[in-house]
Every structure is written in structure tokens, then in C-alpha cells.
């Protein structure tokens, strides 16, 4: 019998853990600066982080087979919660997203971010790959139900992320390029319908994404101020706590969705390169784990979750630099906020579970 390393015995992927922790430290530093140097904000975020990391480590202990076995139940449970939230949810910022369980409040849509890729990975792992058309249609339905429910809340950003998580798994599972292009065309055709169901503020955001200088004090304001922050940061940045755009509050949502602009302003182009290197390390680690996974379920799930993680990063950065419309997606592991953090950490827990349990089965 082979000697197990400490990491293997604890079911923890130390490289991933260390880099995630490093990212969290950077995040806390930026939150301290963006939040007006409010140390209490940092404490609260640190507590949430600790809980999320503990959750990640606990999930990492779950046997991968158990995760697969419970995937359908988890999916159904999350759908039910989404339905419940429509009737009993709390309203926040004009949308019904929150479920109040007296002890704590949470957004069922966050669970869906995990349950959908798990469900699809489980579904496709039991089919022959590449998936046949009938499987693809089934997967589309699995994705569509929660996405439509979330879009109705309305929370377009989360709906897009859930869809991205589902399609990431489908893509890795080897969906034929022909089908992929067909679905792309269908999605493009559905855009006018999407426009029709969008709320006014969402439409405005899209319009001013297309032409931000049109209305500098309202909808386009976010993007203009964010670009000013990034551009004025330059190559080296203005230095930690010295970002005037954030310190003087010109940047909106500076400790949450637009925290990347604060980071750019204070740490400059070089800081961005460092941050992207850290992210790319996490992504490559996730994909490495996926490639070396024991079975298709593990491969599909680990790669799907990793790709979703990148979609988070890309959508957030794209929005902050003015390449994508403003949708409320936080910058993973940096932005202030608890719920999305817990989901992300749980995802990494699943990835760690996939990695470590493979070894047990393959000694």
C-alpha cells in the first residue's frame, strides 16, 4: 500500500487551497480600500470567508460517488426552492431573490449554480459521448427550467451564469460543433424575445453599454467612472488606498461588482497581470484535476465548474472594462459578499473531492 501525503489523507488539494487563500487575502485588502477603510467590513468578510472555506473543506471530504448519487435529488430540491422563492421570497433591489430561513437568508439561485452542472454531468456521464441529439435536448431542458425561473425573479446575471455552467458541461462532453452553432443561432434569434421580457433598467444598461457617453450621469455613469479608474491607474497603479476614484466614491458598487476597477486603479496593469496569473493557475489546476479524474462524471463536473469559474471572471472583468453590458456578477473571491463566495468555495470543494477520491480508487 502506497504512503499517502498529508493532503491526500485530509482530502485537500494544497496548491488550490493556497492560491485560493492568497486570492482571499488580496480580496480583503482591496475591500478595505474600496470600503472606505472600514475595518469592520473586512472582519465581516473574513468571517464569511472562513465559513465558506470550511464548507469547501467539508465538501472535499464527500465521496464522489455520493455526489453523483444525490445529484438528481439536489437538482429537484433546488428547483423546488426556486419555485418557493417566487411565492415567498423577500424582495431586494426590485427582484425576488432571497429566501428567509429566520436563521439566515440565502438565494436558492446560488444552489442552482452547483446543482445544474452536477445534474448535467451525472446525466451525460451515463450516456454515450459525444451526446446524441436527444441527450442534448434533455440537457437543454434541465438548463432551461432553472434559468427561466431565475430570469423571472428577475436576476439576469445569475440566469446567464447558470446557463453558462450547464453549457460548459455540455461543451466538454463533446457536443458536436454543428449542434453548438445551431444553438448559437437559436440564441441569437431569441434575443428580441429576451429584450421584450427585460426590465427597463436592464434595457437601459444594455443601451448605455453600447454608447456610454450618451448619458454620463445615469446609466453610462458606471462604465465611464470605471474606465477612468482603470485608465488613470496606469502601469503601476496609484498605490493601495490611494485610488481617488474609489476613495472619493466616484466609482459605484466599488466593493462588490466594480471592485476590479478599484484593484486596477490602485495596482495598475502589473497588478492585473498578477491577478490574472493567479486566476489562470486556479483554472489550470481545475482543468488538470478534470483531465486526471477517475471517471467521466468527475471529468465533466470538474471541467464544467472550472469553466464556470472563468465565465464569472470574464463577465465581471468584461463589464468593468466596458466590453460587456453591466450585469450584476461579482469578481470571484475578491468582491465583497457572502452567498456567491459560499457557492464558489463549495464548487472548489467538489473539485477537490473529485481529485482526492480518485486516488483512493486507483491505488
Amino acid at each position: 500500500m502506497k504512503e499517502f501525503s498529508l493532503g491526500q489523507r485530509l482530502h485537500i488539494d494544497f496548491p488550490l487551497l493556497f492560491v485560493i487563500l492568497a486570492l482571499c487575502v488580496i480580496g480583503l485588502a482591496v475591500i478595505y480600500s474600496a470600503g472606505g477603510q472600514d475595518i469592520n467590513l473586512v472582519y465581516r468578510q473574513a468571517i464569511k470567508l472562513s465559513i465558506a472555506i470550511m464548507g469547501m473543506l467539508i465538501i472535499a471530504q464527500l465521496p464522489i460517488t455520493e455526489i453523483a448519487r444525490w445529484s438528481s435529488c439536489l437538482y429537484l430540491f433546488s428547483i423546488i426552492l426556486l419555485i418557493v422563492v417566487i411565492f415567498y421570497g423577500d424582495v431586494g433591489k426590485g427582484a425576488q431573490r432571497w429566501l428567509d430561513l429566520k436563521v439566515f437568508r440565502f438565494q436558492p439561485s446560488e444552489i442552482v449554480k452547483l446543482s445544474v452542472p452536477i445534474m448535467i454531468a451525472y446525466f451525460l456521464a451515463n450516456k454515450t459521448l459525444p451526446p446524441e441529439s436527444s441527450s442534448v435536448i434533455a440537457v437543454c431542458i434541465i438548463i432551461a427550467i432553472p434559468v427561466l425561473l431565475i430570469a423571472k425573479q428577475p436576476d439576469l446575471g445569475t440566469a446567464l451564469l447558470v446557463a453558462a455552467a450547464g453549457f460548459s458541461v455540455l461543451f466538454v462532453a463533446g457536443i458536436s460543433w454543428r449542434l453548438l452553432i445551431l444553438m448559437g443561432i437559436l440564441a441569437a434569434a431569441a434575443t428580441p424575445i429576451l429584450w421584450y421580457v427585460m426590465h427597463d433598467y436592464q434595457k437601459r444598461r444594455v443601451l448605455f453599454f453600447l454608447n456610454p457617453e450618451n448619458d454620463p450621469l445615469n446609466a453610462g455613469y458606471h462604465i465611464i467612472q470605471s474606465k477612468i479608474a482603470i485608465g488613470s491607474g496606469g502601469l503601476y497603479g496609484k498605490g493601495w488606498l490611494n485610488g481617488t476614484q474609489s476613495r472619493l466614491e466616484f466609482l459605484p458598487e466599488r466593493s462588490t461588482d466594480f471592485i476590479f476597477a478599484v484593484y486596477c486603479e490602485e495596482f495598475g496593469m502589473l497588478g492585473v497581470l498578477l491577478l490574472l496569473c493567479i486566476y489562470l493557475f486556479i483554472i489550470s489546476r481545475g482543468l488538470y484535476i478534470a483531465i486526471n479524474a477517475q471517471n467521466n462524471f468527475g471529468r465533466l463536473l470538474a471541467s464544467g465548474l472550472t469553466l464556470t469559474f472563468f465565465v464569472y471572471i470574464f463577465v465581471n472583468m468584461g463589464m468593468v472594462i466596458g466590453q460587456l453590458p453591466v450585469v450584476g456578477v461579482p469578481l470571484p473571491l475578491i468582491s465583497h459578499g457572502g452567498t456567491s463566495m459560499v457557492t464558489l468555495m463549495a464548487g472548489f470543494g467538489v473539485i477537490m473531492a473529485i481529485h482526492r477520491h480518485k486516488r483512493f480508487l486507483s491505488f
Partner: protein
């Protein structure tokens, strides 16, 4: 068998998945490169552009208005000062729903319709100018209680502040309004004329009087500060500051004691009194009655009060000294007499026979003397002392309009005096050219006659009369009147005296002519039978004067002027010009009291009171 198939399939499938993962990695790399290139574009290529934008976001230039110079009387009494005031201001940038905020503010601080009106127009202007950062006054001159009340509610009104400022205040109010004028808020018309850079931050501008004509000295030079502001427009820190230069203090020539006597004398009447020092042009008294309270104009007078001032029959808004045009009446006679002597038309010994009327040869129209029974044989001396009209009818007739025009022009009749505040009327000294041009008529000899006694077309302002009197007192030396004698630096108190403005010398063929006329004027007050003999009684010094009565309505040939039977507004204006002491005059006065009747009765005693005060302050009047 089936198991075998699945296992084989597993290999193929894992290869498929791995390939897709590599494809994903490539896509991810491409997208990351896209993000990096956009960030490179923003941070490196566009760095300067965004640095500028970032600076203009946070750094604002705030003007610091200079403190307006103070105005002092001759004896150092403050006449215009800057009083600390508190105003309630709103910063548009920080307010979402202005109407709602104003409605809530109304509950704790009284805000009336005029406030709202002014505020809303300024608010719109600020939004149009994209100067949402600048605050806009909502209520001015908060009371102390209101400031305190707002302070405790401050947290409920983000974007609303109380700011301290200085507001102009005139402690003497209406007593000197026609002299000092007032400042008021800068309006649209002012904006067109002023240099905006100099006036950024300044709220008030001189609108009238000294405040207007000395605006450039009083205003000072604006300073500015570079401040860092946050998104709400609140100043976080001051980065650079250039102090404003306060405006200069002005020292007026006004003698408040004399001014007060003049104001008291005109109490309840319409009229004007102006006294000046003939030696240097210093205006000692500058009183126009009625006046009005300039303090009401500083922050904008309400329409009702303003209309009341406009509609008042007494016309308080008119500055009678500079804008009131009156027939000079008999006060013109000393000047006529001098012109007669100077042109050789009369000698001191020449006499006219005064039967109480005068007729031109071949005409039956009788030009009446004020004294029905006539003055008998009358020379220049008696003609001035008793104010004989017939002597001057005859003199004017012989001089002719052209010589009269030239002679009176030299004394400044029909021209502005050039005093250092604006708004002066020209008055009118008629001439052949004038009549042809304006009335398109030839000059008639009869018009020359009545000009000889200061009636007809002739109009002069009290200021003109005072300046002409001063020139006479000076024996021909013409000095431009002035209200400001000097300035002082507000910090160092260094005084700069302004130079006297000597305009010239009226030359006469024989200097004894001056003494002849002045001597006659002295007899007006000191001689037996002088028209104002009562005013000269027991004076410890010698002064010279001339009464005048300006007709408001024409009296028909065979009608008699009976004061009591005529409505007040049609009664004659009382005039008096005088100077003292005779030998070397230090004060010259012109007095007009509207609709008061004869000059000797009303106007001359005022001059006596003023002279007494003036001379006693020089220590020359005997006790008792």
C-alpha cells in the same frame, strides 16, 4: 461483453473530454489576452486621457470672493459695511428630488414664494451649466434660531447646508442712499458686462451711486482654491490656495453733521441740498429727499415694495441732486450780472428804471417783476440784492442769447458736473442752435428775457447750481465735485488721497467784477432790504447768497400768484445758493425745496443752519 464495450468507450470518451478541455483552455487564453489588451489600451495607451478625467473628477477650482471695501464718511463713520449672514444652500448634485427636499425644509424654516422663485431659476441654470457641484442659495439671511434649528436637523438633509457669508449693510439706511447707492445680487444684465473670472464667487455688485461707480476699487480681486471633492461634491481637502485681495476702503467727502442738518431740513419735503468745498470739490452734503432704504435692495426687494416706491408721488427713487432738473430762477442773476459787466454791457453805475414791468420796444407784452410796484432806479448791486427782474430783462435783452449762452456755459450750466457717481442729467441751457435743432424754430427775443431771470427753457440740476456757485465763490476757479477723497488699504490702512480735479479758470476782463457780484450777494443776506436778510442776522461770519423761486406753472398776464390758493404740487420751488465765508470761501451750497414757495422763506434758513454748523466746527462762530 457489454462491460467490455463500455470500457473501450470510456477510453474514447475520456480522450474526447480531454480534447474539449484543451480547446476550452485555448479559448480561455484567447479571452484573457483580449481582456489584457483592453486593459493595456486603457492603462497605458489612454493613461493620460483618463488621468485628466480622474483629476477633473476630483479637483475643482473654487473661487474665493474678495471682501468688499468699506465706505466711511469724512469723519470716519462707517456708511457701508459687511455683515455676517447665514444662508441656506442646496447642492444640486446631491439632491435627487428637489421639490421633496424643499417641502421638508419648509416645515422647519420659512421659505416664501420669492425664495422659491429665485431658487428654481438658479437651480435650472446650474443644471444647464453642468455646475451641479456649486451650491445654490435657497433662503438668505437666516435668523440665529433658524441656523440652530437647521443644525439639529442637518442629518436629514444631505446636500443642504448653511453657509456663512457677508452681506452689505448700510447702517444709515435712507439718509445716504442717493450718495452711496447700494449693491444687489448680480443679475443677467450685469453678467453680460462683468469679467466672469473676476466675479466668480461674488454675489453682489454695485448698482447705484458710489457702490456702482467705484465698483472696481471696492470689489477687490477674487482668490481661488484647488480642492479635492468626493462624488457628492463635498470638499475633502484643500490642495492649493490663492488668497483674495480685499477691495479698497473708500473715504467719502461727506460731512455727516452737515448731512444730518440737510436731511432734517428736508424732512417731509421733496428737495435736494448739496454743499461742496469750492477749494477742492469735496462734496460735504449730498441730500436728496425723500430717500429709501437701500438695505432692502441688497438681497432683492420684493415686487410689492418696489412698485410702491415706483408709484410714490414723491418719487423717492429719483436722485434729485443729479437727476432733478429745475429752472434756476433768480439764482442765475449773479451769473447774468457778471456776464453783463464782463461784456461791457453794464457798468456798476448803470441803472435801469423798474416800474414793476418790462416791455420790448414795439410790443405791448409786459414782462412782470416779482415786485408789483417796482424797484425804481436799480443798479447791479440793488438788482441782485433785491432780485429785481426788470434790470435783468433789460440786461439779457442787450446781451442777446449768444453771449448769455457763452457766459453761462463757462459756469457749467447745461452740462454734467462730472461728479464721481453716474446718472447725472445734463440740465438745459438753451441756445439758438439748440432751439433750431430740437424745436425747429428760430429764437425769439422774449425767450432771452425770461432766460435772464432763470425761467423759460433753462433747467439745471442742484449739482450744477452748486458747482456754478463754487466757481463763483472761487472767483472763477472751476473744480470738479467729488464724493470720494481717498482710499485706504483694508489691511495696511495705507491711505491714498485722490487728486483734486481742477477743470479750469473762468477769465474775466476785470477781476473786480467778481468782487462786485459777490459783494451784492453778500448784501442779499446781510444788507438792509436783501431778499434773505433774515437768514443773515447775527451771523458771526460773512456769507453770500442768492434766493430763487422757480415757477412750476405759468401765471397769466393779469393773474396774481397767491400761494395758498394753489395746490401744493403746483407751487413754486424754493431755491437758494450761497457760500461762506465771503473772503475765502470754504463751503458753497445749492438748495432746492420743491413746491415750498419763495426761496428766502424756506431755503435760505437751511443754508444759514448749515453754515453755522460748518463755521462753528472751524471755531469761528462767536458764542451766543
Amino acid at each position: 461483453m457489454a462491460k467490455q464495450f463500455i470500457l473501450k468507450d470510456q477510453d474514447h470518451e475520456s480522450y474526447l473530454i480531454t480534447r474539449r478541455i484543451y480547446i476550452s483552455a485555448i479559448i480561455i487564453l484567447l479571452l484573457v489576452i483580449m481582456i489584457i489588451s483592453k486593459i493595456f489600451y486603457l492603462t497605458v495607451l489612454q493613461h493620460e486621457h483618463f488621468t485628466t478625467l480622474s483629476k477633473s473628477n476630483r479637483i475643482k477650482i473654487q473661487p474665493i470672493p474678495p471682501i468688499r471695501g468699506l465706505i466711511y464718511s469724512r469723519d470716519g463713520i462707517i456708511l457701508a459695511e459687511n455683515k455676517p449672514t447665514f444662508s441656506l444652500v442646496v447642492t444640486p448634485e446631491q439632491i435627487e428630488n428637489v421639490d421633496e427636499v424643499v417641502a421638508r425644509l419648509k416645515k422647519i424654516i420659512s421659505i416664501d414664494g420669492a425664495d422659491i422663485e429665485r431658487f428654481e431659476s438658479a437651480f435650472k441654470a446650474a443644471l444647464n451649466k453642468k455646475r451641479r457641484f456649486e451650491n445654490i442659495p435657497l433662503r438668505l439671511n437666516l435668523k440665529k434660531e433658524e441656523v440652530a434649528l437647521f443644525a439639529v436637523n442637518r442629518h436629514r438633509f444631505p446636500g443642504v447646508d448653511v453657509i456663512a457669508g457677508l452681506s452689505r449693510y448700510y447702517p444709515l439706511g435712507e439718509k445716504l442712499v442717493h450718495t452711496i447707492g447700494y449693491v444687489a445680487r448680480i443679475d443677467k444684465d450685469d453678467v453680460k458686462q462683468i469679467d466672469k473670472a473676476k466675479y466668480s464667487g461674488t454675489n453682489y455688485i454695485g448698482k447705484l451711486g458710489i457702490e456702482k461707480s467705484y465698483e472696481s476699487l471696492l470689489h477687490g480681486v477674487a482668490g481661488y482654491q484647488q480642492v479635492e471633492v468626493n462624488v457628492e461634491g463635498r470638499v475633502i481637502r484643500v490642495m492649493d490656495r490663492t488668497a483674495p485681495k480685499p477691495g479698497a476702503n473708500l473715504h467719502l467727502t461727506i460731512d455727516l453733521a452737515l448731512q444730518q442738518i440737510a436731511i432734517d431740513a428736508l424732512e417731509g419735503r421733496r428737495g435736494a441740498i448739496v454743499a461742496m468745498d469750492p477749494r477742492n470739490g469735496d462734496v460735504l452734503t449730498f441730500a436728496s429727499s425723500p430717500g429709501y432704504d437701500p438695505n432692502k435692495f441688497v438681497d432683492g426687494i420684493d415686487g410689492k415694495s418696489y412698485n410702491a416706491l415706483l408709484a410714490s408721488k414723491d418719487k423717492p427713487l429719483i436722485n434729485r441732486i443729479l437727476q432733478g432738473e429745475y429752472p434756476p430762477g433768480s439764482t442765475i442773476k449773479p451769473f447774468m450780472g457778471l456776464i453783463g459787466l464782463d461784456n461791457g454791457v453794464r457798468t456798476l453805475l448803470d441803472e435801469s428804471w423798474c416800474p414793476g414791468w418790462f416791455s420790448l420796444k414795439g410790443h405791448t407784452h409786459r414782462y412782470r417783476d416779482w415786485k408789483k410796484q417796482g424797484h425804481g432806479h436799480t443798479g447791479l448791486h440793488k438788482a441782485i440784492m433785491e432780485s429785481c427782474d426788470v434790470y435783468f430783462y433789460a440786461l439779457a435783452h442787450e446781451l442777446g442769447i449768444d453771449r448769455i449762452f457763452a457766459g453761462l456755459s463757462a459756469f457749467g450750466f447745461g452740462q454734467v458736473t462730472g461728479i464721481d457717481i453716474g446718472g447725472e442729467a445734463d440740465g438745459l441751457l438753451p441756445s439758438r442752435e439748440w432751439k433750431r435743432k430740437v424745436l425747429d424754430q428760430a429764437w425769439f427775443p422774449g425767450e432771452t428775457l425770461i432766460l435772464g431771470i432763470g425761467q423759460g427753457y433753462a433747467l439745471s440740476t442742484p449739482m450744477q447750481l452748486a458747482k456754478a456757485t463754487a466757481s463763483l465763490a472761487n472767483r472763477g476757479r472751476v473744480v470738479r465735485p467729488r464724493l470720494v477723497s481717498g482710499t485706504s488699504h483694508p489691511i495696511t490702512n495705507k491711505v491714498d488721497m485722490l487728486p483734486n480735479m481742477l477743470e479750469g479758470q473762468i477769465t474775466v476782463t476785470d477781476n473786480t467784477h467778481w468782487e462786485a457780484v459777490i459783494n451784492a450777494m453778500q448784501e442779499v443776506v446781510h444788507g438792509v432790504g436783501g431778499t434773505a436778510w433774515r437768514s443773515g442776522l447775527n451771523a458771526a461770519y460773512r456769507f453770500a447768497g442768492k434766493t430763487g423761486t422757480a415757477q412750476v406753472i405759468g401765471i397769466a398776464q393779469d393773474e396774481e400768484y397767491i400761494e395758498e390758493s394753489i395746490a401744493e404740487e403746483f407751487r413754486d420751488h424754493a431755491l437758494f445758493i450761497a457760500f461762506a465765508p465771503v473772503a475765502s470761501p470754504e463751503i458753497a451750497i445749492a438748495i432746492i425745496v420743491e413746491n415750498a414757495g419763495a426761496g428766502s422763506k424756506v431755503a435760505a434758513p437751511i443754508a444759514r443752519r448749515m453754515f453755522d454748523n460748518f463755521m462753528s466746527n472751524r471755531g469761528l462762530v462767536s458764542k451766543g
